[in-house]
């Protein structure tokens, strides 16, 4: 394998890791609070607001029902507005984050609903505020579940990032399509697949390791 190919593979791997990492961080920043909002405003929960809940839930469902490839193209004006361009790695981060936000929100909502309601009651009886219930009870108690969900999201993002590559987003997907598919270079195709597998394994291992560290059930 030539030096250029090797360089190409390394830089595209780094691009993929960068896209996935940035999108994961951004999506978590927005998805986690959204998930918490969904949970607390749901009927029967600590900050019951049925209308707000329905609004948020509908928004989440709409975003989730648009296939990623279409979402990526549909929000091009929005991407341009944010990063100034619609091509390249930075531009790919926008649709990647956007599609992961509702996913993380739902995952968080589910994780929070698994927390025993008795704990919320106990905290209320101790005079906890709603914010304290969220920070001292809900999040610590569901953290392992949330991390599991985040791992799931990050791994999906590895896949989506390859799709972004197909339309000029850079990264391993881009290499696989241009070299592997269009130039019939099956070695490169194979290598990109192997790198993807290694990435997915790594993220899964990392997630499991963190969950094991914080879990005390």
């Amino acid at each position: 394998m030539s030096q250029t190919t090797l360089l190409l593979l390394v830089s595209s791997s780094l691009q993929t890791i960068y896209m996935v990492a940035a999108a994961s961080v951004l999506a978590t920043m927005f998805g986690l609070p959204l998930g918490i909002a969904l949970y607390i405003t749901r009927r029967g929960n600590i900050l019951e607001k049925p209308r707000l809940y329905n609004f948020l839930a509908t928004l989440v469902n709409i975003t989730r029902s648009i296939p990623f490839v279409i979402l990526m193209i549909a929000i091009i004006p929005f991407t341009r507005l944010l990063v100034g361009t619609s091509i390249g790695t930075n531009a790919a981060i926008v649709p990647l984050s956007l599609c992961a936000i509702p996913f993380i929100a739902r995952v968080t909502e589910n994780a929070l609903s698994e927390v025993n309601k008795g704990l919320i009651e106990a905290a209320t009886a101790m005079g906890a505020t709603t914010l304290q219930i969220i920070y001292k009870v809900l999040i610590p108690e569901s953290l392992a579940s949330i991390i599991n969900g985040l791992t799931l999201t990050v791994i999906s993002l590895v896949g989506y990032s390859a799709m972004a590559g197909a339309v000029g987003g850079g990264g391993l997907g881009d290499v696989a399509i241009r070299y592997g598919y269009q130039r019939f270079d099956s070695v490169i195709m194979l290598i990109t697949i192997v790198i993807m597998i290694v990435l997915v394994q790594f993220f899964q291992f990392l997630g499991d390791w963190v969950v094991k560290r914080i879990s005390h059930r």
């Binding site: 905290a123 005079g127 906890a128 005390h216």
Partner: protein, 352 residues
């Protein structure tokens, strides 16, 4: 210390409103343990959850430590709740925190400094006997230990009132006993006032000063525990008291029990000793006055706050006339008795 005045609670459902509590009035004096007993669905849980407004009553007032909780704005209500500890049937400990952090929770909520927290928690760990478990997580503890952690947590904010929501219902009898002793001990050391709910008479017997019977959302009767066992007033109360004494007869008797008497059967009777009945020499009267022979099958007398209360099961033998006279005599004494049934002569031996 705790006063419920005219508390009612209705649940609104699509099928109409269901009354869960009906005009409850009760008050718990400072430093006393008040137990509410009732069957499941009687409204016990709703009642205790009203005491710190986890459940808001439809009408009425809850006064804890001279403060009417029902009129407090949210911030002050939270302050007031910090002076009311609560323990639960399923402990409700944070599984993500160790014993120390669980006990510290109410203090971190009130933003106590970590050095101050340590000073409070160490003696509490000692009080509940878990000094060596400080760094363990709830999953590593037994049910009894978890409840001890929960009790320590409830005491951390130095409350004046402790609420216990079926705290021993998930525990075995032996552990229940030690937890109840701990509660009594806590009452004696900290002079806290305890309101507890339970469906077990043994809990009332072991640790309460006062008892109230809750039945279909109504407080049917309340009394000092000794008086309550000796002189239950309502039918529901009598049932609770007698059921708490009844022990099961052995199989060799129950399998021969029949409802009708005949010439060759002996009646089996159960006496309930409550109040004055316990002080009368009934057995000797049956023997001397009615020339009956008596075989004691089972008995249990307990002393609850200086009242002898209990039950005795006997088989009687004698001529039919004497038997009838004896039964009439017992009825006239106003002693709570019942004929459990009749067994054939060969089952129970009477020495001649």
């Amino acid at each position: 210390m705790i006063t419920f005045s005219n508390i009612s609670k209705k649940y609104i459902t699509p099928h109409g409103s269901i009354p869960a509590l009906v005009d409850i009035n009760l008050s718990v004096p400072k430093g006393k343990i008040y137990g509410i007993i009732g069957k499941s669905g009687a409204g016990k849980s709703t009642l205790i959850r009203c005491a710190n407004l986890l459940e808001r009553p439809t009408s009425g007032n809850i006064i804890v430590d001279d403060e009417d909780l029902t009129t407090l704005p949210p911030t002050q209500l939270r302050q007031a709740r910090r002076k009311i500890g609560m323990i639960f049937q399923h402990f409700n400990l944070l599984s993500s925190c160790n014993v120390y952090d669980n006990i510290a929770l109410p203090l971190t909520l009130s933003k106590t400094t970590s050095t101050a927290i340590k000073k409070i928690i160490m003696p509490l760990l000692e009080l509940v006997g878990l000094t060596d478990k400080e760094h363990n997580f709830p999953a590593q503890l037994s049910g009894g230990q978890k409840q001890r952690v929960a009790i320590a947590r409830a005491l951390a904010s130095n409350p004046k009132v402790l609420l216990s929501d079926e705290a021993t219902s998930a525990l075995d009898p032996e552990t229940t006993e030690t937890i109840l002793q701990l509660l009594k001990n806590i009452r004696d050391t900290f002079n806290v006032t305890i309101l507890l709910i339970t469906h077990e008479m043994s809990v009332i017997k072991t640790c309460c000063d006062f008892v109230g019977i809750l039945h279909e959302g109504k407080l049917l009767e309340e009394n000092d525990v000794g008086e309550f066992f000796a002189y239950p007033k309502t039918a529901v109360a009598k049932n609770f008291v007698t059921a708490s004494f009844s022990t099961k007869l052995p199989l060799n008797i129950t399998q021969h029990l029949q409802n009708v008497s005949s010439a060759d059967t002996h009646p089996i009777m159960r006496f309930y000793f409550m109040g004055d009945a316990a002080t009368q020499p009934i057995i000797s009267q049956l023997i001397n006055q009615f020339r009956l022979r008596i075989n004691i099958l089972q008995g249990n007398i307990e002393y609850i706050k200086n009242h002898a209360v209990g039950t005795l099961v006997i088989a009687l033998s004698g001529n039919a006339n004497d038997l009838q006279n004896a039964l009439n005599y017992l009825t006239s004494l106003n002693i709570h008795t019942e004929i459990i049934g009749h067994v054939p002569n060969n089952v129970i031996a009477f020495s001649e």
